[in-house]
Symmetry: C2
Subunit: 411 residues, 2 copies
């Protein structure tokens, strides 16, 4: 691996020029790199373990893990073998793969709040299905959502206004994360029409510190749902499989009625899932949700291999250990360079901000310097660790982030 | 291949028992087989060309092609090689695959109405994105939709009521397919607030004859969109890549402003796309749509291999020829057994109903007999041919449908 990348590569630049002609703005969604960096490559061609390679052949230690999905590392041998094996037989068939039953059984066995499971493709498919089931079950319409929380990128939950009508979000009622009084007020405002409370396991909104859920807040939402007859939906799309295999609020002793899963559940193959309690089985049966690729065998095979590997029990503790070392190392480096920083959220899903850097200008410069030194991370979206990050990888990453701190210290 | 299947297999039955415990209703969406048959297997394990195999090892000639996606046949060598090659390098990375640019370029080169492209996973992602772009472009809210038309399975376009609120569909304005006067009336009802007209290339609603678009109707919708400043969206999810590579209304000389694609565009890998005209590029850039798996390399590699193969020019004429032979053969068989049948829609996407069979009871019995004789087809959803169906396959399929007609003739 080379260590200094002063400019974007030639192939990257050529691809961006071509992309601007045939893709609006040159890219869309969270992969539109120009929205957050002048140094990050937009295009990548390969991955191996905890490393990714861009179009110019530059290799990076990967602290985004495909923005979450890659929990075991790129091209994990066990998952790759399951994928290759199923591909050799078939993928998108006229009927469901029996692997859907196997994976549903394994989820029910792994997730205490799950009596059943359904599969889909996107995280947004899963959150939308949860809300639809909750409305079908309760015959009510209102859905409580935390201010600024991301539950997908379709009109009913979009955080951006373009193309969204007032009616798309007419039944959303907002509360403040970790503020139970605001949640009580939101429930009161819903006046007997409250179908669901949808909530992430922690506050992981972009461009701000992450906040772990206050256990009293989580328990309070559970009690509020019980008291009002609303469905408690845990949006575990981003956190799922990194904090606790049984669901990210298991350590708090709070179990949702429905949970939305995606990202990491098939180590990068396109898969989402909804799990739910027995009392919501009939409602789940009553809604019509489907997609051409939802029953395909290969992502289900990947999902089964991923959960089987994770259930061996070493991956999550490994990520906690390496994440802790990364956090400690970054803290020491910042201190030694005279920077005050904030590292928030669980160590497996870190984010780093500089004190007083409200516009994230310094944070962006540091992230750009990290990329130029061969560590791919984000200035204002949480990062992700994987089980493929070894202790040695973390040390090497820290060597490079040290260089990034040195760069911004010279600015 | 065996020729008679009097009962569901043991593994099928065992899987259904297990599925009922861990999946609501034993299955969801269009794969919930008990909603349409007592004889169709719900579970499938492999596919090869135009054949699929169920959990009990029973092989079927495939006339559903994974409900559309498999346009070149299961495990098509060219697509399989592209998938294996990309898998050997990586799939879900931190940046977009350069293949997104290549595929966007190839779509722009292939589809006359496409000046740009964006990629997603589900057909519903594509239709939802089209509507969002249209609203962003026009600043208007109303969307004209044909009665009974399927544009996806999420609340804004759902055809079922469970879990759907009035507000989800508050801005839909309905018209009757192939009835231009009803479309004019719907546009008038939208009173200057018409953002879009979304329409399928033909009427392919379930449980009824398919109707090709009347060219005057298609041209009339185009003129109506132009006159009102609305965006004409062609939902080519189901028909795309089977009727005309340039878009299913190219033969009519009618070009949409936006088109939604999915199903067949990656021969079974999860991929959707939106294509659009230059005038909508900025609006497409302004909406925030994204998904964790939308930028993954493997489905894009499959999409590139699929379109490259189709552009060689033989697949579509082949499907037209084999579809014509299938239609002629089925017509002759029905006649010889004294049945009046209706075969409607393009020959590559056939459906068959018996005269006077309004509850599709006879049609279901015939479809079940077909399955028992080793041909997988549907009683009331259109079928799909693929380029893997040879003339000999069609003759063998007809031998088996002859047996199915004989079975229902004895009833």
């Amino acid at each position: 691996m080379t260590t200094l990348r002063p400019t974007l590569g030639e192939r990257e630049l050529a691809l961006r020029t071509r992309a601007r002609r045939v893709i609006p703005g040159g890219m869309y969604g969270h992969m539109a790199v120009e929205a957050f960096s002048t140094a990050h490559p937009q295009f990548m061609v390969s991955g191996d373990g905890c490393r990714v390679t861009d179009a110019d052949g530059r290799e990076y230690f990967d602290l985004m893990c495909g923005w979450g999905p890659v929990v075991l590392g790129h091209r994990h041998p066990g998952v790759a073998a399951a994928v290759a094996d199923q591909l050799s037989r078939g993928d998108c068939l006229d009927g469901t793969s029996p692997l859907a039953v196997e994976l549903a059984e394994l989820l029910v066995d792994t997730v205490p709040s799950a009596d059943w499971a359904m599969f889909c493709k996107n995280g947004t498919d899963a959150t939308t299905t949860c809300v639809t089931i909750a409305r079908a079950a309760t015959g009510r319409r209102k859905v409580m959502v935390a201010n600024g929380a991301y539950h997908g990128a379709v009109p009913w939950c979009s955080l951006r206004g373009a193309g969204v009508t007032d009616e798309d979000q007419a039944h959303l009622v907002h509360f403040e994360y970790n503020d139970l009084a605001s949640a009580e007020a939101a429930a009161a405002a819903a006046e007997g029409d409250l179908a669901a409370i949808i909530v992430c396991p922690m506050r992981h909104d972009i461009r701000r510190d992450q906040e772990l859920a206050d256990p009293a807040f989580a328990r309070g939402l559970r009690a509020l749902a019980d008291r009002t007859g609303a469905v408690l939906i845990l949006d575990d799309v981003r956190c799922g499989y990194r904090l606790d295999l049984g669901g990210s609020w298991e350590p708090l002793g709070v179990r949702p009625d429905l949970a939305a899963w995606s990202k990491a559940i098939a180590n990068g193959q396109a898969l989402g899932a909804v799990t739910g309690i027995e009392a919501l089985r009939d409602a789940a049966r009553s809604v019509y949700v489907t997609g051409s690729f939802w029953y395909a065998a290969v992502p289900l095979a990947a999902g089964l291999a991923t959960l089987t590997e994770l259930r061996k029990g070493t991956a999550l503790p490994d990520m906690a250990r390496t994440g802790t070392r990364l956090r400690e190392g970054l803290a020491a480096q910042a201190l030694s360079h005279g920077f005050q920083i904030r590292q928030t959220g669980p160590v497996q899903m870190p984010v780093l901000y500089f004190a007083g850097d409200d516009d994230v200008r310094l944070g962006t410069a540091w992230a750009e310097a990290a990329v130029e030194n061969g560590v791919y991370l984000h200035p204002w979206h949480n990062w992700f660790l994987s089980a493929a990050h070894t202790d040695d990888d973390i040390e090497e990453i820290l060597t490079r982030t040290e260089a990034a701190f040195a760069t911004v210290a010279r600015m």
